[in-house]
Symmetry: C2
Subunit: 489 residues, 2 copies
């Protein structure tokens, strides 16, 4: 028996899962009954505990994911910042969208308006499927957990098989902090194994699911959630190609800078970001292709785990073997473990003959460079894509390609101008989502403060006397919330 | 050939549907590009035209649905008010949830924050399935159409087979008004027949669906929407029992008034409201059952159409034939067409043995009265229900049954205190939705101004210069919108 197998958590059994789900279900009412500012304290406590545990957590993450120390330290900081930002959202309270309509006998609908008051309330237990590529920020204590807890829901976290020990360690820190801060028992638990995850998602006590991962895995879980006797919302982030379009004017103005920045973006984290720019449209004759051919690609870096290495090679070989795709530039060992980065090459004319065969997401250190011969091709090329997390234009203010931007805004959740999609900032206005297959719920985001909205549902109270109303809706506004009153904010 | 078959629209053919979908798809970009205040003018024009056409519309509705003139006139007013209220929502602009984060090099996440701006944008063409029981308010120009158009989406309306001529007439008025007001061709179209509706819902150009109707019909469409290669959101309102709980104190204080108001509510519109109180919990020994037994139930009234009459009798006979359910009071001819109203009777003890067999929605003039022997039964009874549109408590301020209210708020989208669920007001704080099977999307509402949110999706713009941003996000705020700026509203 090796050391690894000793400390690797075993798959959660059915009996263990039943205990977890029963505890989550029992925790839903008490957790939801805390004031938002009280739940904020839970999140702050979790952030503090995770920050304090960084020296323990980061080395385990490095060993399990092959990610470097600086990256993991930065990611942990992002993760704890996210918990703190949701605490701030709770203290602000506008996320509750509290609305009060006073009774109005003259309401112009033709019938008197009753006293109606509406507020967002927690959904109930949420099962969160952790991602492989962000062992902190999209994992045990990541954005889905933070937003679901902030909304007042117990979380059952299905750990990713790529970093089980880190998951167990993070879960222990998180659970300890929540318990010490006074959160109900059952507020958070971690489970292991595909079977436990599927079982949890189909359990009647679970009221929503979230996921970050592959199209095939995410679609299977989406289908499970939708085919339940009582379907539940499932917020899956699946796949994205993140096309980048360089206009002729931009290439002429600053082609070399754009080429260098593209190489840095597509190869960051060994290409294992959901926002990696997977397709790069450049004008023929601009010299950009030549600059890329001469670029020094980064050295080979080990991928997160064997499954990702295998999956990368499979898709890479499919793309590289495409009859209309050639190799632009690659490192010494593109097919080994670790694989050297590669840039593939095709033309717009070729892509337009069968676009989707060129657009498969390749999770790892490769991207496809597409030479176009006329800017008139950019709109049809943009139209040829499925739903995306991001789409980017590098242009100049004098030649703004407005129609291209309009099409990309229909295809993607985030559109960038003269910037790069990797490095997703956690902010109030962030949108990390997009039409299928980027996500299964394009009306939502999994990053940024709006992510809390996924795990809430509205309830209206009609005709209630003040003392029986939830605090958020009481006339005296004891929570001091921003509210809409009689249609005015 | 009869007069009816002459004026009854034929089922939409595949070729006709293709024209409709192509036009809707082509209209999406231009319709979405109008300023909200410009789309508001379209809605106002539609409301005016429908009001003006009332003398033509109402008689056709009376003939097709058997609903009385006063009801249909009132419903049409509600419908045009709804269009006007969404126009007001558009002029206010807060529905866009516009958010601006200025670039911040010191953002505490650990990396600089880029300039990020987020706004809600239209989804694209929406297919709306009209309901039978509100031939105006949940039909051609009803709430789903109004909110989808307000959001900037073309609408393909699948007419209900119960009022085809009224649908054609209303669609002609609506289309004419929209065209005259300058809306793009293809903004609205009506189609007929189950096949056309299913075909539209599975067409890749359609981006969302909405529905009001039965659990079986709604679930079939939900499954279609979820099983598309690209799943789309489907906002279905399916079924609800709308339980009402009378406390001992309330029964003692005003039992006779409550009994009379309950009879009026359950039998209103011949019991054909989605918010009809289908189960009425009363304390044994309070005299309420005796008051109901002595009540004069309304006369038999014809149901909306033959299918509803047949469906009513089928469920009614199933309930009336339940071994634990008896008859409390009924009119002369409960099984004929039209059927006399009936109140059925059981006890809490009996219901708790197999709750769901007592809780099937019976769409028509019947309800189940349940005698309970102890208020301790109320919470388990409330827990025994599936998701509901509404749940009601008749109580007194001195005996507030807080736990019951908490459970009901988890089960229902709207909780009422000393009021009745029928008569759904169109307001800012209304919530017409609830956990499955009340709806397929408990995070949304189909009535009230928040209904517009169903048909929007967020898009973030990163790093854009002012002149390339949508007006809603430009620094100068040319639309004068309420916005969140750097986290502050």
């Amino acid at each position: 028996m090796t050391e690894v197998s000793l400390s690797r958590p075993a798959a959660t059994t059915e009996a263990e899962l039943e205990i977890v789900l029963a505890a989550a279900s029992a925790a839903a009412a008490p957790l939801g009954a805390f004031r938002p500012s009280e739940r904020a304290a839970f999140l702050d406590a979790a952030a503090d505990a995770l920050n304090a545990a960084a020296p323990e957590l980061v080395p385990v993450g490095m060993r399990e994911t092959h990610l470097p120390e600086a990256r993991l330290k930065g990611e942990l900081k992002r993760t704890t910042f996210q918990l703190q930002l949701f605490a701030q959202v709770l203290r602000d309270g506008s996320y509750l969208d509290a609305r009060i309509d006073h009774a109005d006998p003259d309401w112009p609908m033709g019938a008197p308006r009753p006293d109606l008051r509406r507020v967002l309330e927690p959904l109930g237990p949420v099962v969160v499927f952790a991602a492989s590529n962000f062992p902190f920020a999209f994992s045990v204590a990541g954005g889905d957990t933070a937003s679901a807890l902030a909304a007042g829901n117990p979380v059952v976290l299905k750990a990713h098989s790529g970093h089980p020990e880190l998951s167990a360690l993070t879960a222990a820190v998180l659970t300890g902090a929540l318990t010490d801060a006074g959160a109900p028992q059952g507020t958070f638990a971690v489970v292991y194994g595909t079977a436990a995850g599927r079982e949890a998602l189909t359990d009647p006590r679970v009221r929503a699911g979230s996921f970050t991962g592959s199209i095939s895995g995410g679609r299977a879980l989406f289908d499970l959630a939708a085919s339940r006797p009582e379907p539940i919302p499932f917020f899956g982030e699946l796949g994205s190609n993140n096309p980048v379009f360089v206009t002729e004017a931009a290439a002429a103005e600053r082609g070399a800078d754009i080429a260098a920045a593209f190489v840095a973006s597509f190869s960051a984290g060994a290409g294992q970001f959901c926002t990696k720019p997977g397709t790069f449209f450049v004008p023929a004759g601009s010299g950009l292709v030549e600059q890329l051919r001469a670029a020094a690609l980064p050295a080979a870096a080990p991928l997160l785990n064997q499954r990702i290495q295998d999956g990368y090679l499979e898709v890479f070989q499919e793309l590289a073997g495409h009859p209309e795709i050639g190799t632009l530039v690659q490192g010494q060992d593109p097919l080994t473990d670790p694989p050297s980065p590669t840039l593939l090459l095709t033309t717009a004319e070729q892509m337009l003959t069968d676009p989707r065969s060129f657009q498969t997401e390749c999770f790892g250190p490769t991207a496809l460079v597409v030479e176009y011969s006329s800017e008139a091709q950019l709109v049809p090329l943009a139209e040829s894509f499925e739903g995306q997390l991001t789409a980017t234009v590098h242009g100049t203010d004098t030649c703004p390609v407005q129609e291209l931007i309009t099409v990309l805004a229909r295809k993607a959740g985030r559109v960038l101008w003269n910037d790069w999609p990797t490095g997703v900032s956690v902010t109030y206005a962030q949108q990390h989502g997009g039409p299928y297959p980027a996500t299964t719920a394009s009306g939502s985001t999994s990053v940024g403060t709006a992510a809390i909205g996924r795990f809430l549902r509205p309830v209206a109270y009609q005709g209630f006397p003040p003392h029986l109303l939830p605090e958020a809706l009481q006339e005296a506004n004891p929570l001091n919330l921003p509210r809409m009153v009689d249609g005015k904010r």
